[in-house]
Symmetry: D2
Subunit: 341 residues, 4 copies
């Protein structure tokens, strides 16, 4: 792999998406369509071979040249400078193994996010087939691992809840006695397949929590924040809207934080410190809005919001791509301004 | 059956629901729970035997005595003064045949709404198994067939779109040259099972038409309005809300209508002639709101709204029950005032 | 006043509402309309004199006899067994003083909820004009003050956020080291007047917090829960729905609670202990749903939901009325089953 | 003016917006921010002088250089290649007169859309102050007036309802006996100021028509379609969503249409002929989706959808700018792909 990285990268990048028909793959298409340094090489799907992207996602009619194929992953990899995997976990881990070394990979599944196979098994109920690759994967939170991402061959894109929680807690890393988090997500987070939990009559005008203290994104959060497992209460909830996550954290500090949270993210292109976090202010964009304030009794009140499909998935993945290929981080992302109202 | 009808009816009525777990059965429970002359005898379901109603529909926890059984329909019928069937079409028609003569029946499925088996086959794709019962079924639109309903043994409750369209067109019956109707319905109309069309991300913030000029409720509409099949354009659409139907009709008259539409429904307990129809004004109630105005060029502009689960299903069924048993028609229904805002 | 209370109360009660045109007054009408022991005597409004209720609230057309007058409060009081005040705070306190002693009063404003004038001034920015009446007012949380309410001449109905928070915390009263609460409310909580915060484009698809640790309902909460002011963080937020409040509390206990939270509310007609709180399950009803679970690290995770206009306002007020007049507490309230979906 | 047009235009264009704080001005900023050939010169507002755009519209924090001034219109005009006016009607007409001849103008108000002052007075209730400029204004529907727009000094951007209706009817121009249209719009169409009609509790879960056959966009529609005033019924309605218009037309033809509606818009960059129009498929984009089908009885069923703030306002205005300056029409617009789900 080193060879690939050392040579001067020709632009535009040849970029492919394996598994393009879910909401994550779809959002990758939306983001990459307007990226100035990207040539979309392959969009693949097993189910929808020989369709155009407009056949599967009618709102994308009018972007005609985008044809879906069932090209095998190795061919895709050989012809691409970078490949995004928008596959379900378990499926993704084997495809990564098949193409590792042939191209640079950004995996949007959960398969390479965790360090050890035991935690993976605990949360996902599966044995990991490729533990040797876990050590090679870089966790793709740009704000924490920019340097490692630069040279990575395999980037594991963070979970949507996980990234937001980490961004909220990171200025206090290793100084937190306890964090109590309530999070509320839109229905697009559940993916493209209909289910009881996303049945419109059930979801509309409703709020309901699920998987309290059992959500799969928890190990990502505690690792970054330097929390013991039982120092976190994490209450994920479903909300009556399509896109976005709003999160409320009450932090009990153990000692003074090493950083000033107000200035901690200064210079970060997609983190906005705001007076009042409002979910609608980030929809459609790669921004993550954060606010910190002193609560009563030494507690710190932290709020955050991001679009789960953009900064929580496809946008973050493209931000990682930009870092990997030495592009300005905002490229193809800052132009996606929030669609408000 | 005559014997049953002639004897003086003891109150409260023993009332049962066969098929209580869908949204229609559920709404019947809500309405019957507060009906002063009703004793709920059986609530049956094949799938959920031995649950309470609160197990299946958690919002009904606290109404404890309601247990679901899998009692066979004939036993249910023998022990009940009236039985509501809230089953899918095709299933319903055989159950009706099994219990016809044992009790009085209000069928909320489509199976006994149409007069002839050919039309039934055309719209539902099935041979009707019990054509002999079709002639005995009374179409349960209280505003048009009150007298026949009084003595009916089998009432076929109208379709939700169908009832609203009929109420809008009926003052102009047999005088309409053409009716062009656009209708928009909430997601609860699609029932309790999740589907692609009711997936929250798809339904939220969306409007989309389906089955244009092919919807199954069309034959009910044209029969009542005295329309030739090709004098109606009916455009059903899905809207981004849970309950209710809003309907817009443009009527081209063939000759002056025999009735004054403003006073036509005077005295009807659940028809309100209003200046401006607003969907939210009927939600949760058995009201149907209507407005008539003169359009340009002799056209008549008619708008209407009802709650598809109440006046479009369970409420109308209970109104029919009230008529069948000589109760005041408002009983147990007028108390369900619209829940606004 | 004692005379009034000792005599045997004739039914139906003569009941009046002063200030009937806001959402609270409106919801009182909806609840009282179907209350079997109530005769509505006066509905008053300064602005809408001589309208019917259907003129102001078109969804109530068809409930014709209800005429709005501008009858003076003293006449209203003299002719009524009980008077509900659905007026803004500040206005309400003087009307209460005008009619105190002439009838029994249930005040839905904030004016008589707090014990002392200093706290009132701190949170509402006003001097209280009638401190002598504060001592006579009973705080109308039925679950905590049932006996006092029975004999009260003046009941101060709780704030919507406040009642829910109190119900969630009360089983742990005086044993709480800290409570961190995130609450999210529907737009009807802001009342009937349009404002920037309830402009549909702003509110739809949005979540935003406001008045963190400054909300006016805070003193009600800390008093009942036995909390020091700085042991509570209270984060009220606006949500993209019309009715209801969903609330999440993280409780840090100081010592073992004196009560078993699972059984604490046993026998309470409107408190339901549920496995999973879902906002949609209480809408339109007087239920408050609660769940308690052990979190990590000794924390207790409490969730609750109620309809802000019913259990959070009009329903609770009628529950208080039932208690005051020796009626079954469920009367006219249990029939309002949740409207779901 | 000819001089300005003849010289070779230097890129980027200096572009200004007068009146930047409403939803239309705001959306112009969103579109222009990513337009590759645009330099934003002035954003002006009387009320918000010296704010940044992020102060007024917090979702635009992070696009820092955009400062709002109260620069006088003539200075703005002199320094700009093109000026967008996003002002209320009546205000706009005088500002246009002030700067006419100093720059090229795209007016998003209604003031220069109509040909004659009598119709203007009839629909807007005002005398037009500058009738001499009416003749010079070009109606900015790109699909109908492309050539005239190219050389225009003053373009009157169409109304949102009006443009959609015209696009739906235009293939049948001068062959329509009657058109009956039902239209439903999101709340952003009402602008940024809170009002009773956009109060969230009123708008959520509601549909209600208004200004039937009186809407101000009607004269634009009938002129383009070649309809007599009383051959159109136009029923505008408010829907429970923020962005977008969905429109249903029933067309009664007088004679065969001169064009094939399926191919009529071939080559148009922003018109998509689709099988099924779905509102959600156009949100955030400059697309207008259309479907035509044969109804019963010679009727033609036409459906259409667009985003009222993009194709119905800011996007169309930028499309006009592209035409006026010889740019590819898609520039800065096709990159705004629909944000779905």
């Amino acid at each position: 792999m080193p060879a690939k990285k050392m040579k001067v990268q020709k632009m535009p990048l040849n970029v492919s998406i394996i598994g393009v028909t879910g909401y994550t793959g779809l959002e990758l298409v939306r983001v990459l369509l307007t990226h100035p340094d990207v040539h979309i090489k392959y969009l693949t799907s097993r189910q929808h071979e020989d369709s155009t992207i407009g056949d599967i996602h009618p709102h994308l009619q009018g972007y005609g040249g985008l044809r879906i194929t069932n090209t095998d992953p190795q061919t895709v990899a050989q012809d691409s400078d970078v490949v995004f995997l928008a596959l379900p976990h378990k499926t993704a881990q084997d495809v990564v193994a098949d193409i590792y070394g042939l191209t640079r990979i950004i995996d949007l599944s959960a398969d390479y996010r965790l360090d050890d196979t035991a935690t993976y098994k605990q949360y996902y109920g599966l044995n990991h087939h490729h533990p040797e690759l876990l050590a090679k994967a870089i966790y793709g939170a740009p704000e924490f691992h920019r340097d490692a991402i630069k040279n990575a061959d395999l980037v594991a894109n963070p979970g949507c809840f996980a990234l937001l929680a980490q961004l909220m807690l990171y200025p206090f890393q290793n100084t937190i006695s306890r964090a109590d988090i309530f999070a509320i997500t839109g229905s697009s987070g559940a993916g493209k397949s209909a289910s009881d939990g996303t049945h419109h009559p059930v979801r509309n005008h409703n709020i309901k929590s699920y998987n309290i203290n059992k959500h799969r994104h928890i190990p990502e959060i505690i690792r970054t924040a330097g929390l013991k497992a039982d120092a976190l209460n994490f209450v994920p909830s479903s909300g009556p809207f399509t896109r976005g996550i709003f999160m409320q954290a009450f932090i009990t500090p153990a000692k003074p934080a090493p950083y000033n949270s107000d200035t901690f993210y200064q210079g970060e292109p997609f983190i906005r410190m705001v007076d009042t976090v409002a979910l609608a202010n980030v929809i459609g964009s790669n921004f993550c809005d954060l606010s910190y304030s002193a609560g009563h009794g030494e507690q710190i009140i932290v709020q955050g919001a991001l679009d789960n499909l953009v900064k929580g998935a496809a946008g973050c993945a493209v931000q990682n791509m930009n870092i990997m290929f030495g592009l300005q981080e905002e490229t193809g992302l800052k132009n996606l301004s929030p669609v408000y109202p």
